[in-house]
């Protein structure tokens, strides 16, 4: 009962936050019903996916302060599990997705156990390494299509196929990922107030103190790493059905890992809204800049310049990201 209450209890946020959040939620629900371009739709789906990636990353990276730069490997595990199972054995998304999550979480325990013996920069570097190793393996593994990747061909199915998540129109994908988005917010809202959430925040504060308060620091980190993994693996499975064409280079790349981490950090690591704000700023910026500038006159890469500029400015002003700036201004007003 208490768990349920905590999940839906947002009362510790100021009313203005909740009003903004309410408006955003309403906008997200009605967005597909107002006229929009297919490009806008694709951007919105990307935004929701990256919000979920960020929310997952935020549990271990934000609340726990463990900078994880290897989340793409779990995106890959989720995406490949769903794609392989669908293509080879015709297993629908709703079965392959949980299996993908289990495989990813299992792998995260194997990786996490030795990795969390490391701290700080060493941990971050090690997460990059494990992710790249897995990507290299997938690039030569014929069972999963090696470097060519896998393609889910929609002609074989009769869309709309709700079991296999094969649709012609993006609106279906939109509402499904929106459902996961709301569930993700509720989960993180529970997490941040749970015992594990408090333990993680205490670990971020000071590990020695955390241990002296009865917290098994190593185990708490591994558990939270698994939670973060479940989030990204789930979205990875969705990615496979939505994009229908997956290869190691885009589902498991270092770019993706870093984008996930940066998005959450930019928005505000360790806050509920941070990753959503980060994705809300960066994803439209990224895709529209690419669309407007990248295609014209050899300006390829200019989006990346803008994008790094914003990150530099924000991290110089406030390391806790956009949300950190908001909170700082608020606290100043209070005092």
């Amino acid at each position: 009962m208490e768990t349920l209450r905590n999940t839906f209890d947002f009362s510790d946020f100021p009313r203005i936050d909740l009003m903004v959040a309410g408006f955003v939620a309403i906008f997200l629900v009605v967005f597909p019903l107002v006229p929009h371009s297919s490009f806008a739709m694709a951007t919105m789906i990307q935004f929701l996916m990256f919000s979920l990636y960020g929310m997952g990353w935020n549990t271990i990276g934000g609340y726990g302060g463990q900078v994880d730069l290897g989340k793409a490997q779990y995106v890959g595990i989720g995406a490949y599990t769903t794609a392989v199972m669908l293509i080879r054995w015709d297993v629908p998304f709703w079965f392959s997705m949980p299996i993908g999550v289990c495989l990813a979480v299992g792998w995260s325990f194997i990786i996490g156990y030795p990795l969390f013996r490391l701290t700080g920069h060493y941990f971050a570097i090690a997460t990059i390494a494990t992710s790249l190793v897995l990507k290299d393996i997938f690039e030569v593994w014929d069972f999963v299509g090696a470097a060519r990747g896998l393609e889910i061909s929609p002609i074989k199915y009769s869309p709309p196929d709700f079991l296999r998540l094969i649709f012609k129109e993006d609106i279906y994908y939109y509402y499904i990922i929106l459902g996961f988005f709301f569930l993700g917010i509720l989960y993180v809202n529970w997490f941040r107030k749970s015992r594990l959430g408090f333990q993680l925040r205490s670990i971020k504060d000071n590990e020695e103190v955390a241990q002296s308060l009865g917290i098994n620091v190593h185990w708490a980190k591994i558990k939270t790493y698994a939670i973060a993994t479940a989030f990204v693996s789930l979205v990875g499975s969705f990615h496979a059905c939505y994009i229908k064409n997956i290869e190691p280079e885009d589902t498991m790349s270092l770019d993706l890992s870093i984008l996930i981490a940066l998005m959450a950090m930019l928005g505000g690591a360790g806050s509920l809204w941070g990753p959503i704000i980060g994705a809300g700023v960066l994803i439209p910026l990224k895709s529209y800049l690419k669309e407007w500038l990248g295609a014209k006159a050899g300006l390829v890469g200019i989006d990346l310049i803008f994008y790094s500029l914003i990150i530099m400015v924000v991290s110089a002003a406030e390391p806790r990201g956009i949300w950190g700036i908001v909170e700082k201004i608020r606290r100043r007003k209070q005092v």
């Binding site: 208490e2 905590n6 302060g65 107030k193 749970s194 015992r195 408090f198 333990q199 925040r201 205490s202 971020k204 504060d205 000071n206 020695e208 103190v209 955390a210 241990q211 002296s212 308060l213 009865g214 917290i215 098994n216 620091v217 360790g270």
Partner: protein
């Protein structure tokens, strides 16, 4: 009844003997001071007892069970809490949340942890500070909060590492009241490392004195203060020689 027994504890750091064959016991309900000049090995001793440093040799028995090999969090779960001398808080947690982390050791329920944290904060007269971030507080308040946090785990024994260091006299009075309250009213056995002599000599039933890693004296504060070995440790050999008459 002995709550904590330390038998022949020795701790080496790469050839430097930080604790040398230290033995003492703490009885249930005692309030004991641990004193000694800088570098005497007091904090190392706390770190060994709380499991942060593995001991080189010796045994530690807490509440009838051996805890020598246990990890810090296992020691904590058995009811041995401690505070740290230097508290570095990145400042993400408010005072109340900090205390809640301690309370979460005994419960999974957030509501219970919160209620217990409120109780402790009220008890230590810290409830006005509940919503401040740790980093916004002066050192004296931070130290009292770390005490409150340790109390959140409902310990049988509380090890306090220099809670009065760097405080002014009125703040020292405040923290002394808090320590006495924790011991007298909450029934927690307390051992405290302290350089502030007026505090440690006033509140302790007994003091243990370390110098260069060895235990050089133990007993009632008034007696220990007159012990030539202790005076030598603090003031040097020459002082003892020159003031031999007064000391007798």
């Amino acid at each position: 009844m002995a709550l904590l027994e330390v038998h022949n504890l020795t701790k080496d750091f790469d050839g430097l003997r930080a604790n040398d064959d230290i033995s003492f016991t703490l009885d249930q309900g005692e309030l004991v001071g641990l004193i000694g000049p800088n570098g005497a090995g007091k904090t190392t001793l706390f770190n060994c007892i709380s499991g942060l440093h593995p001991v080189t040799s010796g045994r530690i028995i807490f509440d009838g069970q051996e805890i020598t090999q246990l990890k810090p969090y296992e020691v904590a779960r058995r009811g041995l809490a401690r505070t740290f001398q230097v508290y570095v808080a990145s400042g993400d947690l408010t005072v109340e949340e900090n205390v809640m982390v301690g309370c979460f050791m005994r419960t999974r329920s957030r509501a219970q942890a919160k209620a217990r944290a409120r109780e402790i904060l009220t008890d230590l007269r810290l409830s006005d500070l509940a919503d401040y971030l740790m980093s916004e507080l002066p050192v004296s308040a931070q130290k009292r909060v770390t005490m409150a946090t340790a109390l959140g785990s409902d310990p049988k024994l509380l090890l306090l590492d220099e809670v009065a260091a760097g405080l002014n006299p009125s703040e020292i009075d405040e923290i002394m009241t808090s320590i006495k309250h924790v011991h007298d009213d909450l029934g927690v056995t307390v051992m405290l490392i302290e350089h502030v002599m007026e505090l440690v000599m006033k509140v302790s039933h007994r003091v243990v004195v370390l110098d260069y890693g060895k235990k050089i004296a133990e007993g009632e504060p008034a007696k220990v203060a007159k012990d030539p070995l202790v005076i030598k440790a603090y003031l040097g050999e020459r002082y003892v020689r020159e003031h031999a008459e007064e000391l007798k």
